[in-house]
């Protein structure tokens, strides 16, 4: 298992390098000088611009620039935001926890929906429950996150007036009251992401369970006189988790995309909304850094999925 872990880690490194090459290529191919605007901006003194150019090695040959860029990225020297003049790493670290919490909570919600519904539907294929669940799942992942967000705002904020539709960081309350307000304003962003992913995962879980349920070893389990509940949990769901983990890992880029949209709709101060505001303000260092962070997060979750996969499937980790 340890060896397997090390190997997965080693495989993740070229992926990260590959992503960094792609990112850098995009940046290098981009026409014009991303720092051009600084020259015309009277608020920024020429020395700062020259320093920035030097720190990013703008005038070197391309492969040297890549190496220089990568080392500074790895060392956490991500430059300063053009807009707020705060170091980019600081800006991102401030906002990353919010994003992680929103994504984490929504994925927990998605799992809480997908697991029971998918398993129950697959154990009764073509029953009424299965048909209804399947149709709802299709509706769920055909509703784009930005539209669900608006619908929820219309329903819960405007029609019913139950929930605030703007996420505030300056809640004037302490103790339980603060937690309650945080909870209230987190409900809709988490629901938007969670329902979308839950719908997609329900289909994954259902089809994975359906594939396992007809395998021979399930008949063996039944021939042992085990109760149906034990057969389903121990011999079907446990095995079905193996493909589901892979599919969920493949979905991570989609999850992050959804997080950007959700943060933007509800003005959640995470790195997704940071990215959008940076793009609207032409804040290149922030844009580059956030994109890189997203890419790193995806690789990280893939690695996590690989580890989980090895843990779930003894055939992998023992090979």
């Amino acid at each position: 298992m340890f060896q397997y872990l090390i190997r997965r880690l080693l495989i993740a490194i070229p992926s990260l390098l590959g992503i960094s090459v792609i990112l850098f290529t995009v940046l290098a191919l981009a026409p014009g000088d991303p720092f051009e605007e600084l020259a015309t901006n009277p608020a920024i003194p020429p020395e700062v611009r020259a320093n920035l150019r030097a720190s990013l090695g703008m005038d070197d040959p391309i492969h040297l620039r890549y190496v220089a860029w990568l080392t500074s990225m790895l060392r956490g020297e991500w430059g300063f935001s053009f807009v707020s003049r705060i170091p980019v790493d600081q800006l991102i670290l401030q906002r990353l926890p919010t994003t992680i919490i929103v994504i984490g909570a929504s994925q927990v919600l998605a799992l809480a929906i997908a697991m029971p519904v998918g398993v129950y539907a697959a154990t009764r294929p073509y029953s009424l429950f299965d048909k209804v669940a399947n149709t709802l799942a299709f509706v769920g992942f055909s509703l784009p996150t930005f539209f669900t967000g608006l619908l929820l705002i219309m329903l819960f904020s405007i029609q019913l007036g139950w929930l605030p539709f703007v996420f505030r960081t300056d809640i004037e309350a302490t103790g339980w009251r603060w937690w309650w307000e945080m909870f209230r304003q987190s409900i809709m962003p988490i629901m938007v992401l969670g329902l979308f992913q839950g719908a997609a995962w329900t289909r994954f879980v259902r089809s994975a369970v359906l594939d396992v349920i007809r395998l021979d070893h399930v008949t063996t389990a039944r021939s042992k006189g085990l109760p149906e509940s034990v057969i389903t949990l121990k011999h079907v769901v446990r095995n079905a988790m193996i493909p589901v983990v892979t599919l969920v890992a493949l979905q991570m880029p989609v999850v992050f995309g959804g997080a950007i949209v959700t943060e933007q709709i509800f003005r959640v101060p995470g790195i997704g909304s940071l990215l959008i505001s940076a793009i609207l303000a032409n804040d290149t260092p922030v844009i580059m850094a956030v994109t890189f962070v997203f890419a790193t997060l995806v690789i990280f979750f893939n690695l996590l999925a690989d580890i989980l996969y090895g843990w779930l499937d003894p055939r992998i980790s023992y090979r």
Partner: protein, 312 residues
Amino acid sequence: MAGSTLASATVSAIPAAAPRVGPWREAWRRFRKHRLAVLSAVILGLLVLAVLIGPLVWQVPIDEIDFSARLQGPSWEHPLGTDDLGQDLLARILYGGRISLAVGFAAMAVAIFVGVLVGAVAGMAGGKVDTALMWLTDLFLSLPELPLLLLIIYLFRDTLTGLVGLELGVFILIVSVIGGFRWMPVARLVRAQFFSLREKEFVEAARALGASRPRLVMRHILPNALGPVIVAASIDVAAAIIAESTLSFLGLGFPPDVPTWGRLLFDAKDNLDFAPHWALFPGAAIFLTVLSINFIGDGLRDALDPRRIISA
């Protein structure tokens, strides 16, 4: 349940009874059984027809500003209401639908083209080329699509605009970038087909008869990979429409005066309390289009890809 029993009991019994039909008729027979897919095909057909013919019938300009009719709900004069400038929403949605659907199908075409190319080269070459291409495929699968999409459009928008004009420039950019991020499942499918079909008897036979490689690929291998690729293509159309709408919704897609469905939602989102219709109609248009395409994809999967290869 004891699938093995069932298989051994029926498989041997059926072939003698089942009538011989062509593969396409058989696929059509299976597709028809999926009622929601058939219904969705009808709905999508009507939607396509509406955005193609609609503007010819409903000849209200999309940019006619009428301040006396701002933010009105549905009426006879404006069946889907108006926006904050009094522009007719039905006309704007019909026009925006053309763009959304065009982006969806064009991006799908790009994805299929790149995917088939990469998959065919990997499948045919094998060895190191295959390993490298599959590594690239896996790498692309783990790229965060939306942030990169935003980044690329941010960096390249102005140049392309200067080259071919604003609307066309953005269209080319969006289509190629969305397509460029969705070819991976197709590449994998095509490659897998190559590997499973390469050693099959009829291909061996064709090779023995001296069929050249490109000929082998065109005549024997690609047609066999067609089923799963068509299924993947249908999913791609839906995903591309969502991706384009997302960009527009974030205010970073087509220019503000082009009323794509996502852009309409972007404009509507600050007026939800007094003009909900403004957001509901374009949102419903996206939803209905994507839902029917997804159902059609499901029907096609039943019809063409009985082995249910899961592709994300």
